[in-house]
Assembly symmetry: C2
Homo-oligomer: 248 residues x 2
């Protein structure tokens, strides 16, 4: 029975997709059976792993297509459901149905037994699609850059999750991303985050140009440059996720 | 009769809010009467200018509140309509009405005669709110960082605008942001953008730490550090906007 995890933060451009790719790939390398699900109409998840597919999340969720036709292998132990702009049509359709909040949850229930973990990439703002992902999730991992807009987006995420699920307990881990250890302001903000959220704050992912280059080559950080700071930091995060979510 | 301009790109975290603040403030300093409208539930626009308000865009659009009660002065020649998370409720309400695509347009029509320019900040993904902003706009300014996800977001924006308005002519300017002149990859991508979009590409806004510090102090770049690269680059952009949109 898979654990469903969404990577989310209302602020844009703070490393959500980068985190989904590299914890997904990192867990698959440890033998965890992972399904990645892209819910962002930009479809950056599949392009970053060099994967194309004929059918998308829209067909799985809205047209009730057989999951076997939609799910494609990305790597060993790593499958993916891709997204594209057809998903934009789903937003209006979804917010009209009676039980619209559970559309994604119902679609994923069909495949939960084949995976240890289902990892969802979400887009920035709170759309009916993102609400679906948060509702369907057992756990939420929230990346944040160490600057005020992003920390504010994190607070808004906590508010939204509390409105939907009556508690913020499902926000298990907060991952500081693009962290620059030389910046005084970043250090101060990181300490502020640790005071506010305590043990939920993971070790930061440091800023590393290899992390912005690897998606252009359709590779995870481990494939692109296994010796890099980025690979090292995401390995530490994968350890923390295995321990926190009792995956293996 | 105000010109309505939306700053948009489907990719998150690429400088939309930073661009709205600094071209809004730059135009106001030249004597242009500007109204800023925040349509992002995160409400980063108002905090970046150190402005708070009691009433928000939600009340103007959905509860038909008198604009005079919602609009607050931010600086000389610069007023603002703020947003907050109540706007998230609007997304579901808006996509149910008959003429939902014009909700924002109708609200702004009430105040068009008092301004030269109405400048709208949008959130990343395509929500009913963002669709409203694009439909209501005469012109669209699209920031983009010089990296593949953002350039892809720009292409998707062109597709969406074409679907809504039958042509992409309203995308007047494309503004490269966070540009690092030392990066070979950035230079190649910039040249690629210039080949694809020609004269729409403005001079880039260079990466400048002052631009990420100024919003934390509730100031525009011109107030925070008028001698900085960021202030210089946004002044050049303001000139280009005045010439392209025939504002004054
Ligand atoms: N630790 C890092 N060091 C350097 N660059 C990074 C790092 N993490 C992410 N990036 C780069 O920053 C940009 C934004 O990251 P990403 O696209 O993962 O953010 P996102 O939150 O998914 O954005 P969106 O809101 O558009 O979905 C990308 O170009 C990515 O390659
Ligand atoms: N030219 C620049 N140089 C350095 N930092 C910048 C520059 N432009 C913007 N920033 C910083 O980058 C971050 C993202 O910018 P901003 O919030 O304006 O993006 P956005 O597109 O509005 O994001 P969202 O998708 O969440 O609305 C902010 O911390 C901002 O201060
Ligand atoms: Mg993303
Ligand atoms: Mg913004």
């Amino acid at each position: 029975m898979a654990r469903i995890v969404t990577v989310a933060n209302l602020k844009g451009g703070i490393g959500k997709t980068t985190t989904v790719i590299n914890i997904g790939a990192g867990l698959a390398l440890r033998g965890v059976k992972v399904l990645l699900v892209d819910t962002d109409p930009q479809g950056n998840l599949s392009t970053s792993l060099g994967v194309t597919a004929i059918h998308t999340l829209y067909e799985l969720m809205i047209e009730a297509m057989d999951p076997a036709r939609v799910i494609v292998p990305a790597r060993h132990n790593l499958d993916i459901v891709v997204a594209d702009t057809t998903l934009l049509m789903a937003q209006t359709t979804m917010s009209r149905g009676n039980d619209w909040g559970n559309t994604l949850g119902k679609a994923l229930a069909q495949v939960e037994d084949y995976y240890d973990l289902i990892l969802i990439d979400s887009s920035g703002s709170l759309t009916p699609m993102n609400a679906n992902a948060l509702v369907a999730s057992h756990d939420i991992i929230a990346p944040t850059t160490v600057e005020p807009f992003s920390v504010r987006g994190l607070e808004l995420l906590h508010q939204q999750v509390k409105n939907m699920k009556d508690s913020t307990d499902s926000i298990r881990l907060i991952v500081p991303t693009m962290y620059d250890p030389r910046s005084r302001q970043a250090l101060d903000l990181l300490e502020g985050l640790q005071r506010q959220y305590g043990n939920k704050i993971t070790q930061p992912i440091r800023v590393n140009v290899k992390l912005s280059e690897s998606p252009m080559h359709g590779k995870s950080i481990f494939e692109y440059d296994d010796e890099s700071r980025g690979a090292e930091d995401y390995r530490v995060l994968v350890d923390r996720i295995i321990a926190t979510l009792n995956i293996v």
